[in-house]
């Protein structure tokens, strides 16, 4: 596992009006490593990843990608760096098939403005097989007919198709059953095995302890703890989530 972080945030903050959503957060993630981001509701997890994905620019602090200082102004720039985010609602178009969804916005075109369907279908099959996604019988079926786990798998495959270096997953197993959760967690491990840096937000500590290498805990906008999964316990993490020591108490 490489030790130089692919993404490093130093002292970032974000304020929305009177609310300090993030303050002085240090965060680093490395290729091949699964970093879990945990915290109660309102802790700032969504704000942090939206800042990384370029949806809200951070107010303060510095962002480093591959060791270089960067300022990410929008989702396009984040995508160009190789940062991909899979939202909780998956952002899939139910009426389109798997291939169309995976290439949405980035279709390949032949002469005379024609979509290069066969080449896209092939790439789609290759990506799914490289992630060992075996449960999808045909990539030409509508996404609406797939199960929650399959849809999640497609959303993740869509994110990693584009030479991404860092993939952020927002609550990937929240709405899934046992077998489907298994599929998604295996997928997460495979992503890391393929050399990507993975950040996963989850409320499910059991899932986290299964896939994560490191666990960062946010509380009230501050990072109160960071653990190596192998050397901590669920109890310790829960304690940090609910009562981790804050540097500054909000409102004072």
């Amino acid at each position: 596992m490489a030790t130089t972080p692919i993404l490093e945030l130093k002292g970032v903050s974000k304020r929305f009006g009177a609310v300090q959503a993030l303050s002085n957060v240090h965060f680093a993630t490395r290729p091949g490593e699964v970093m879990a981001l945990v915290g109660d509701n309102g802790a700032g997890k969504s704000t942090l990843i939206k800042g990384i994905a370029g949806i809200y620019p951070f107010d303060g602090g510095e962002t480093y990608f591959d060791g270089q200082r960067v300022i990410i102004h929008g989702p396009g720039e984040a995508g160009a760096l190789g940062i991909e985010i899979v939202y909780q609602d998956l952002a899939l178009a139910d009426n389109l098939d798997v291939v169309a969804n995976m290439f949405l916005g980035r279709e390949r075109v032949k002469s005379f403005w024609r979509l290069d369907e066969s080449s896209m279908e092939q790439s789609c099959l290759q990506t799914l097989s490289s992630l060992s996604v075996t449960s999808i019988k045909s990539v030409r079926q509508q996404v609406a007919g797939l199960s929650g786990g399959q849809r999640q798998a497609i959303a993740v495959a869509k994110a990693v198709m584009w030479n991404s270096r860092l993939v952020i997953l927002d609550e990937p197993t929240a709405a899934l059953g046992v077998a489907q959760t298994r599929q998604v967690l295996d997928l997460v491990k495979r992503l890391a095995g393929n050399g990507l840096a993975v950040v996963i937000i989850s409320h499910n500590l059991h899932d986290i302890f299964e896939v994560a290498d490191r666990i960062a805990v946010l509380r009230l906008g501050q990072k109160v703890a960071e653990f190596a999964a192998a050397s901590t316990t669920q109890q310790e993490v829960v304690h940090a989530i609910t009562a981790g020591a804050l540097d500054s108490v909000p409102g004072m």
Partner: protein, 413 residues
């Protein structure tokens, strides 16, 4: 990122169906509620049988050609309506916008005034309607006003414009068209040989494109349709097209307007299914938020769709003006709007967006025009005609609703 994967290790294998399996899968889908075009085909057969029994003239070659002529205007406008329905919007102005297109062209053709050539007059009419669509689209996207309201305002405003333009010359309001080319659009017929040439071009084009497509898929190791299925579909298409040409030739011949509409259907089907723009239209209709996050300019797509709707309404207006050989104060009014929308919906395009095809405009127009035609032959009073039209639309929507529900419960949705 992705390691070297060869076809042999791919766990997602393309499914190779035999003819028997293909029909089995098709039958299973129908049982599960995915009816496709089946209701339309059954409907057309039923309509033909019912009206044919009540009035044998329905089956005459003369009536058949009449039917082709009667379908042309509605089909054309319905193509534009399909695009609007695909993005889950509505355009209530298509009737009178088609009127504006026809009226502008007619005014510019008149010898006593501007005396333009047919191509500049038609061009000006279509440009006007395209700009109307642009205006609708900009108001809807930038002001955030629902398309229902904006196009309803359009319906009223453009009906007024038609009234103003047609009474500019005389209070009677009827302006006739003298230009032979424009009149030929909806009143001329292909000579017999040209009709068969058309048949060859259509069948040849379809077969060649299918063969090329299957070759490409096969070469890349992807799933192909069984050859026997393709052969059957080609034979069916040849029979239908050939039968149409032969039967029309026993009367006045294949109408020129049928060729025009065929070209429009083919072109817009291509746009909808094979271009990036078409893909984005379906995406915006299916999940606008997903489209936005994928980097698609949703507002731009919506504006372009409303422009298509008004432009095709304009084309329909040119065709209808040519057919009636004139325009008057009520051009674009009457049942035109409802027929165009009903055609798109009956043909299979969903009112809720994301689902449908350009061909549905043709299929729905076929149903509406044949019902109207049949009722006309039977001499039924207008009131009865309206009731029947309403029932046909209701039945079509109910079939769609039932099939959607059974699709959901059988997991195909």
């Amino acid at each position: 990122m992705a390691s070297q994967i060869t076809a042999e290790t791919s766990p997602v294998e393309p499914v190779q169906e035999t003819l028997g399996e293909y029909f089995n899968n098709w039958f299973k889908r129908v049982r599960g509620g995915d009816l496709g075009s089946l209701p339309i085909i059954v409907g057309v057969i039923l309509i033909a049988l019912i009206f044919g029994m009540l009035e044998p003239l329905f089956f005459s070659a003369r009536n058949f050609v009449n039917l082709l002529l009667q379908m042309a205007g509605i089909t054309t406008i319905a193509i534009g309506v399909v695009f609007v329905l695909l993005i889950a919007e509505i355009d209530l102005s298509v009737g009178f916008v088609s009127g504006v297109g026809g009226v502008v062209m007619t005014l510019l053709l008149r010898e006593s005034a501007t005396d333009w050539h047919w191509y500049t007059a038609i061009g000006a009419g279509l440009l006007t309607t395209a700009v109307i669509g642009l205006i609708h689209g900009i108001i809807i996207t930038k002001a955030g006003v629902p398309s229902f309201v904006v196009t309803l305002a359009g319906l009223l405003a453009w009906s007024g414009v038609v009234l103003i333009l047609t009474t500019v010359l005389s209070t009677a309001g009827t302006i006739t068209i003298q230009d032979t080319t424009v009149l030929g659009i909806a009143n001329a017929y292909l000579p017999e040989v040209w009709g068969w040439l058309l048949f060859v071009v259509v069948i040849g084009g379809v077969i060649v494109s299918q063969v090329v497509r299957q070759q490409t898929l096969r070469r890349q190791g992807l799933a192909v349709k069984p050859v026997s299925v393709l052969a059957l579909q080609s034979v069916a298409l040849a029979l239908v097209t050939g039968g149409t040409v032969w039967y029309a030739n026993t009367d006045r011949g294949v109408p020129v307007v049928a060729v025009i509409v065929l070209i429009l259907l083919a072109f817009w089907s291509f746009v909808a299914f094979r271009t990036r723009f078409g893909r984005y239209v379906y995406a915006v209709g299916g999940n606008p938020e997903a489209a936005r996050r994928a980097g698609i300019n949703v507002d731009r797509i919506r504006i372009q769709v409303f422009m298509i709707s008004s432009f095709m309404a304009g084309v329909g207006g040119v065709i209808l003006a040519s057919r009636l050989r004139s325009v008057d104060t009520n051009t674009g009014g009457g049942n035109l709007l409802l027929n165009a929308i009903a055609a798109a919906v009956i043909g299979g395009t969903s009112l809720f967006g994301g689902s449908g095809s350009v061909m549905s405009a043709f299929l729905g127009a076929l149903i509406i025009a044949s019902v109207e035609n049949g009722m006309g032959l039977l001499g039924l009073p207008s009131g009865v005609k309206f009731v029947v039209n309403g029932l046909v639309l209701l039945v079509a929507v109910l079939i769609d609703a039932f099939s959607r529900r059974s699709r959901e419960s059988s997991g195909l949705r």
